[in-house]
């Protein structure tokens, strides 16, 4: 449903003028108006005091410096993140660190964080990309290109760290990363920690710039490293034999050894502990975790278990969730003594648990029945809401099973979510809500429709959401704001695109509704939709009036999608009515504006390209005309038949006919007719198609050479006889002239026709229409 790109403008951020003297003072670096970023995702974990330094692994990482991607690939508990972090602290290269989570399966969100992280390290590189990402429906690859170009220009070494790459779990996100890796500039290095081999074209990477890997067997602790940890750091009295047993039993699994350290250091007889452990057949993780948990003081245990439901937390959040005042002290103490609590850099004092440890705590929480996780999540949701961290609030409310709160939060922050490009998340949350809640908050299904449209979801899905929205309109008329009416009506127009009269009707309703909205969020878009409907119905005068109204609205430049569409319509109307100069001006304005607002590859600007193609064809700039028309058609190409695509093909055919490419023009025309045949209401398109047909018939295949020198009467007479099988002498007999005269005429004919033989002469003459039909 490309028409939705028209209404994307309604919720875009206001344009930020990069050259303006007074920058938006409120916005701190790397934040944007709209949704606040989770700062914690961009923080490097602080280097833990208890973590063993592993120089041999640093050397491996250094060896991979020429590779585009370095993968640290091993199951949970192998110390991947800690290794990454320690290495960063010893390396001079600036690091853009992003801790990934399941939410980054949405490429928009993923690259928002990547760009933000890069912005912190290389000021100015991320910001233009962030603006672009806020344009809904924008394809991700051009945005990635922009970021990569910036990095290339930056030229200095930079490392991008993606922690927990396996959590991405989505095709589009991985695809975008693969795309970036294949085009990564020489000065940039990507390092990623992961638990599973990522679905990236690793073989291709290896062939190109190399892939460097550090896997489990390399990350496993050696006996020397175990000695460093347990004996030297923790002061546990173990012999080399004990260490050997321990390393063998755990297979060098770092998490196992750190758990063992926590456990053994409090034992009176650690050697006995090791022997018992080594002799048992129990699963290593559970055995050691069990021992550690048992040894905890009850208050500590309580703290750990309850906070385990939080993904990331600050002392304030802990206080709120646990109803305490001393979380800061508890955490500071724990952090020193327990390597499984990871502190993140920065002043906000964010912490999180090591994945395995958190998992173990959560299991224990369920068993100990200390507190209901749902209650804890609810308090967390409230705290996050108070902090303005909407996404986290929604996640926790959902985890608490508190769907009414989820609905409330979504409804309250829907505009922010859209402005920050979180359209995919919004839609996925909406879809998990029960119908009753959607009916209670009519804005949700309406915005859901908008989201689905912008994401290019199938018509069936849009129809479903539309039905819910319309039911909501009926059951809660008081909550049905004009804005929502405008959304629904514009959607209807998109669905009924091919029923001209109904489309105009719904578009008019959309305009009325949009104008009733105080913010005029959708007025430009609705007017553009109406103009579009009128254009395809053939009412060019009205279409022009409406489009002018749209572009003259004061808020128009801040409604990118609608503005471009309206400018494009003005261009198309003027082009069709032969006002070439005006058409060109409108078209160029539309295209320039689309460039600036990151819409160069989106649907609304297609019409501008087509119009420009037509206009340029009229003024003889045929090569450029064809380029523009091709671009326009490409942007309008769809798998299913649409009026817009058929129209685009017709314009392309027309331009190619003008350029004397009859074969291609005919093929475009044929494709257009094929699409038209499938449209229930093709409106004026068949007439347009006929017009193109006429053009093609009138301009037959022109010869490649310039016009020939006109043959004389005598030469023409000979030419006609050349087409027969009479010999030259016999032709002379027929025309009562000598053989010599015939030969002279023939020579002249060959010269004028540019040929070297009788057969060629005949063919050429036939093409030029110089031979009369046989009597």
């Amino acid at each position: 449903m490309q028409s939705f790109a028209i209404i994307s403008g309604g919720l875009s951020q206001p344009r930020v003028d990069n050259d303006s003297p007074a920058p938006r003072a409120r916005e701190p670096r790397a934040k944007r108006s709209g949704l606040q970023l989770s700062e914690a995702k961009l923080m490097l974990p602080r280097v833990q005091p208890g973590v063993v330094r592993r120089p041999r692994l640093f050397r491996s990482l250094d060896r991979g410096r020429a590779a585009a991607l370095t993968l640290i690939d091993a199951p949970v508990g192998y110390g991947k993140t800690m290794l990454m972090r320690s290495w960063c602290s010893e390396h001079p290269t600036p690091v853009a660190w992003i801790t990934l989570d399941e939410g980054d399966a949405d490429p928009v969100r993923l690259w928002t964080y990547v760009a933000s992280a890069i912005e912190r390290v290389a000021e100015g590189l991320g910001r233009p990309v962030l603006r672009r990402l806020a344009v809904p429906g924008a394809p991700i690859e051009p945005t990635v290109d922009q970021l990569l170009n910036g990095l290339h220009t930056y030229a200095r070494p930079l490392a991008i760290v993606l922690d927990d790459l396996h959590l991405l779990g989505s095709e589009p996100s991985f695809r975008s990363i693969g795309y970036a890796l294949e085009r990564l500039p020489e000065n940039v290095r990507v390092l990623a920690t992961t638990r599973t081999d990522p679905p990236l074209r690793l073989a291709r990477l290896r062939a190109r710039r190399g892939l460097s890997e550090i896997r489990a067997h390399e990350l496993a602790f050696t006996v020397d490293e175990a000695r460093e940890l347990l004996v030297r750091r923790e002061g546990i009295e173990l012999t080399d034999e004990d260490l050997g047993l321990l390393v063998e039993r755990t297979e060098g699994w770092p998490a196992g050894l750190y758990l063992a350290a926590l456990w053994l250091r409090d034992l009176d007889d650690p050697r006995e502990g090791v022997r018992a452990f080594a002799g048992s057949h129990r699963a290593v993780a559970e055995y050691l975790a069990g021992e550690v948990l048992e040894s905890l003081a009850p208050d500590t245990k309580d703290f750990l278990l309850r906070t385990s439901v939080l993904g990331r937390f600050t002392p304030e959040l802990c206080d709120a969730v646990l109803d305490r005042h001393d979380s800061a002290a508890v955490l500071a103490e724990l952090r020193h003594s327990n390597v499984f609590i990871v502190a993140l850099d920065g002043h906000g004092e964010w912490y999180r648990y090591h994945h395995l440890f958190g998992e173990l705590l959560r299991l224990e929480l369920a068993e100990a029945r200390l507190a209901k996780p749902a209650a804890l999540h609810r308090r967390a949701a409230a705290w996050y809401q108070g902090q303005g961290l909407v996404e986290d609030a929604i996640e926790h409310a959902a985890a608490a099973g508190d769907q009414p709160t989820v609905a409330d939060l979504l409804a309250e922050h829907e505009v922010e979510l859209f402005q920050s490009g979180r359209v995919a998340m919004f839609l996925s949350w909406i879809k998990r809500l029960p119908p009753e809640l959607l009916l209670e908050h009519p804005s949700l299904p309406a915005f859901g429709v908008l989201a689905a449209g912008q994401l290019g979801r199938p018509a069936v899905e849009l129809q479903q959401l539309l039905s819910v929205a319309e039911r909501a309109r009926e059951t809660r008329p008081a909550s049905w704001a004009p804005l929502l009416e405008a959304i629904v009506e514009v959607t209807r127009v998109a669905f009924l695109e091919t029923d001209a009269a109904a489309a105009i009707e719904h578009a008019r309703r959309a305009v009325t509704a949009a104008q009733a909205d105080a913010m005029n969020t959708f007025t430009v878009a609705a007017l553009a939709s109406l103009s579009n409907a009128l254009f395809f119905a053939g009412d060019l005068a009205q279409a022009r009036t409406v489009a002018l109204e749209a572009v003259e609205r004061p808020e128009a430049p801040e409604r990118p999608g609608g503005y471009v569409a309206a400018l494009g319509l003005l261009a198309a109307i003027d082009a069709e009515q032969q006002r070439t100069a005006s058409a060109t001006a409108w078209a160029r304005q539309a295209i320039a504006y689309a460039q600036e607002t990151g819409q160069a590859d989106l649907w609304p600007v297609a019409l501008a390209h087509l119009a420009l193609g037509s206009a340029l064809a009229s003024t003889g700039h045929l090569a450029e005309a064809e380029r523009e028309a091709v671009r326009g058609e490409r942007l309008r190409r769809t798998p299913q038949p649409t009026t817009a695509h058929a129209h685009a093909l017709l314009v392309l055919a027309e331009v190619r006919a003008a350029r004397s490419l009859p074969a291609r023009a005919a093929s475009d025309l044929e494709r257009a007719r094929a699409v038209i045949a499938e449209l229930p209401d093709p409106g004026r398109l068949p007439a347009l198609a006929d017009r193109v047909q006429t053009m093609l018939d009138v301009e037959p295949a022109r010869p490649e050479r310039s016009p020939i020198e006109e043959p004389s009467e005598g030469e023409l007479a000979v030419l006609r006889y050349l087409a027969t099988d009479l010999s030259l002498r016999e032709i002379g007999g027929q025309l009562y002239v000598s053989l010599n005269t015939i030969k002279t005429h023939t020579r002249e004919l060959y010269r004028k026709l540019g040929v070297h033989s009788r057969a060629e002469a005949v063919t050429r003459a036939a093409t030029l229409g110089l031979l009369e039909p046989p009597a």
Partner: protein, 70 residues
């Protein structure tokens, strides 16, 4: 209706704590390994189970479909 049954074997014998993570499945721990057997709705659930095993730091040994009467 056809039910899928799977037997997943992991390294090490697991105790009650970890067993709680596999509600609805039969746990049999012996000779340094554990068999986790039970019904699985579909492939998605199966992969969910395998993810759980990875999250808990267990080492996977085998995944075998079973007939219901085994």
């Amino acid at each position: 209706m056809d039910r899928l049954y799977y037997r997943i074997t992991v390294e090490g014998e697991i105790g009650p704590r970890y067993a709680a993570a596999f509600r609805g499945m039969e746990i049999r721990a012996a000779h340094g390994a554990t068999e986790i057997t039970g019904p699985v709705i579909d492939q998605s659930q199966l992969h969910g189970l395998l993810d759980r095993i990875a999250d808990l730091g267990l080492t996977l040994r085998s995944v075998t479909p079973m007939n219901t009467d085994t």
